[in-house]
Symmetry: C2
Subunit: 535 residues, 2 copies
Amino acid sequence: MFAARNLRRKLGDSAEIELINAENYFVFQPLLPEVAAGQITAPHAATPLRLLLKGVFVRKAIVHGIDFEKREITVFQGVQRRPTVVRYDHLVLALGQSTDLSMITGLSEHAMTLKTLEDGRLLRSHVIEKLEHAEITQLPEVKRQTLTFTVIGAGFSGIETVGEMAEFIDRSLKYYKNVDRSEIRIVVIEMADRALAELPTTLGTYARRKLEARGIEFQLNTGVTSASGTHLVTSKGEWIGTRTIVATIGNAPSKLVRELGLPLKAGKIQVDRSFRVPEVDNVWALGDCALIPMVDSPQEKSDYAPPTAQFAVREARHLVKCIHASFRGKPLKPFSYSSKGALASLGARRGVGDLMGIKISGFPAWLIWRAYYVAFLPGMSTRFRVLMNWLLDMITPRNVAQLSKPRPPGARHVLYHAGDRIYEKGNRADGVYTVVSGAVEMITEDPQTGKEYRRRLGPGEHFGMRLILGEDRRQATARAAEHTRVLILEREEVMKIADGIEDFRHHFETLIERELGHYWDWRGTSSKNDVSAVD
Amino acid sequence: MFAARNLRRKLGDSAEIELINAENYFVFQPLLPEVAAGQITAPHAATPLRLLLKGVFVRKAIVHGIDFEKREITVFQGVQRRPTVVRYDHLVLALGQSTDLSMITGLSEHAMTLKTLEDGRLLRSHVIEKLEHAEITQLPEVKRQTLTFTVIGAGFSGIETVGEMAEFIDRSLKYYKNVDRSEIRIVVIEMADRALAELPTTLGTYARRKLEARGIEFQLNTGVTSASGTHLVTSKGEWIGTRTIVATIGNAPSKLVRELGLPLKAGKIQVDRSFRVPEVDNVWALGDCALIPMVDSPQEKSDYAPPTAQFAVREARHLVKCIHASFRGKPLKPFSYSSKGALASLGARRGVGDLMGIKISGFPAWLIWRAYYVAFLPGMSTRFRVLMNWLLDMITPRNVAQLSKPRPPGARHVLYHAGDRIYEKGNRADGVYTVVSGAVEMITEDPQTGKEYRRRLGPGEHFGMRLILGEDRRQATARAAEHTRVLILEREEVMKIADGIEDFRHHFETLIERELGHYWDWRGTSSKNDVSAVD
């Protein structure tokens, strides 16, 4: 966005500038923890690209592939399925990074991230749901799990997330009479030996102490070995019962960056000191997707530009000079910039930072943080909206309205640790379950004698099939006998697929007849709309 | 909400009052069109029930069933699957109404509604998506469809929705240089012979004329016979090419009301003039779910309380008096109230209304509408938030940021009219398709000779299966040969189910080998996370 805007300013009408982006808005990443904490509503944190980029053609599209020889980009635009080819003279890659959590078992299935505006909205809704659940549950273990919030990573993102989350919870507790602050556990888990490794040690320590004073627990030198819907297991062997895992780790190249065929190093596109991608013509890369050397023979991490907004904005400015110079056949100057410092908000009107070597902390740091980010926000109307939200937040209570969460996908995988209760007799039936790997033990009780029967299910076997017949309460209890991966299919999903795919229908028809002794009148239970009614 | 609040005020600590609701917030329905038009952000329009109802126990739960004999309600709370039984001495049913669009083919699949806050958010996102699509599409027919917006129903909800939607589009067009106002078609379809049948004829006519002057087309005396993703067919035989259908019709009793076993009339719970439900003890019903007689021997529709917020609030007030009287064994007074009038916003700072017989319209009506609703909003902080949003909207441009739409479900049914293009060769593959009913014609072309081959598929047959093998572009063109219902399964969905259910996997393995001559290495393509890695 900054590159396109600067190019437009520098080149005027002498060039056509186009920005291709999957979303039609710009969101300032450091505001995401505030969106997650309900301080700023999501729409007010987003600025439409079309508003910011007058004179730039904004194409809301997903890039499918790039042909560097032909200088063509193939894109799919919005809901369109027809591919569009966009030709370029110069191409700037500013693809950022995405997240890959697959290195830790269960993390992709059960952890939340905070990379997009939607993530922020979901996290807010999730935290409120946990408070609502804690308010009414009668089971002490479930209450402990719902009131335990874990954040993986104590970098800027992890610290700001946990600070804002704690403030949100603290300010909301007055509405939840059955929840006491002492029952809440907020844990930050960090591999390194300190928080905010990007800042001087004293500031990292200050941040940790301030957050600890607000009841946030730090586990340093600690990793995560696995996660499920109810637990997180640390490298020190602790089983933390939790239903909230926010992962701020796992930066990885985006799918497109991996597929471009450009030379990558540490998951980033290697460029020269003027952002040129070697071996391809007129292609430039900058921001988090690029590995930008700050010296001629880079040796270590600190010889490259750090992946911060501060640098990205300067890079965009310098890029325009490079492109302009290349037009006139002039030599390109190498990018150089030295950090003016760093700031982090700790929530609850406290911050910490290092501004040109001067260490600041507490309320002044928080105030500078806010002032800096408002000044930094692109677009007057967004600045104004964010300021209004902050003002509203100061004079009104935090809003705990839990806007609808998106429905979980109709088919999903869930992981259970050995011994986990999957469901209990009498529970609401929320899907048809299939063992994908591991083993499940089904426990039924003879209603006459009270005798317990146990049955072990392995991969490919189903349980909870009575839901297909419309029985919405569980008749048995299911527990994971080992580490187990389960496929959960919602009833509506089963019905829709059965309606179309006969082998799928037969599969369940046969099983239901054999195992439950029932005839499945699938037509009677599926959608009643009939297309032939149109004729 | 109003009943619980009034009961609390009247009865104080002498009673325990509990409110059971699926959401933890209250939203004022007349604000929904403004949420859909981006004038108020969704979180700012919602007021947490816990804030409004101090001293009332708020239970965020879904009611599973009511035993009127035992005076017990079985609920499922939030994400909990364990049922909870709630006992009552007095039960007030205020369940509102829901929507049933199944009477018109294709409407449940392809129409949007505006009953919940989430609906408002989705409609806003949907309209922006259409503008983004229109901005970049090269196909004139697709552009026409994306720029045609239809609203079914010209009652209060339909009129306010279309007025706000038109304002939103008009104010956003400056960002879409390739879209001209003349290309936009906004149509209201209404069975009756006039708009706003609830108001005097002159006002309905005024509203229609004002909206017509803003380029909105009215089709009165017109119904809808069918809908698909690209068309709406009217009872007059017109095929309107559109990708936006908002249905404000189809009020129907909610699932719970239907299942309660209480005497219904016109889909509503029949009560006496003091809201008592006959034949069950201590059960009261009011609001839109109840049929409340305003005279002793009601004959026609006008003898019952209309389903408006104005009446509902008065009913809640009178209910408290009735319950209080019943405690003291006193006779219950019948509910009586006469409407003080009605107001509708037409968007763009125009309104129309009838206040105690005085007809008002234009800007004054709009201003009174706003003042009335702000005064009516419960909770100071919500009032303040809504006012701030209105202020922001006056001084900043309308925000066209399209926040992420929820992903469509992994399995979904889509309807096509005969001749509809389902997809074309070269299109991005968005799912594995199965004919549920009707017929599909596949068109392939011999790359050497250019000769066309046509193949007809019937129920149970698949197309677009190459996506399973990872081919993300279509190799053939698919068209609906008749009215056809298709099941679309996303690739991820197919993979997840194949991972668990062998018969499903076999089904596709066999077909892929036979029809495409390929071996499907499904393990290589499915999720790489392996639970055994935990051990």
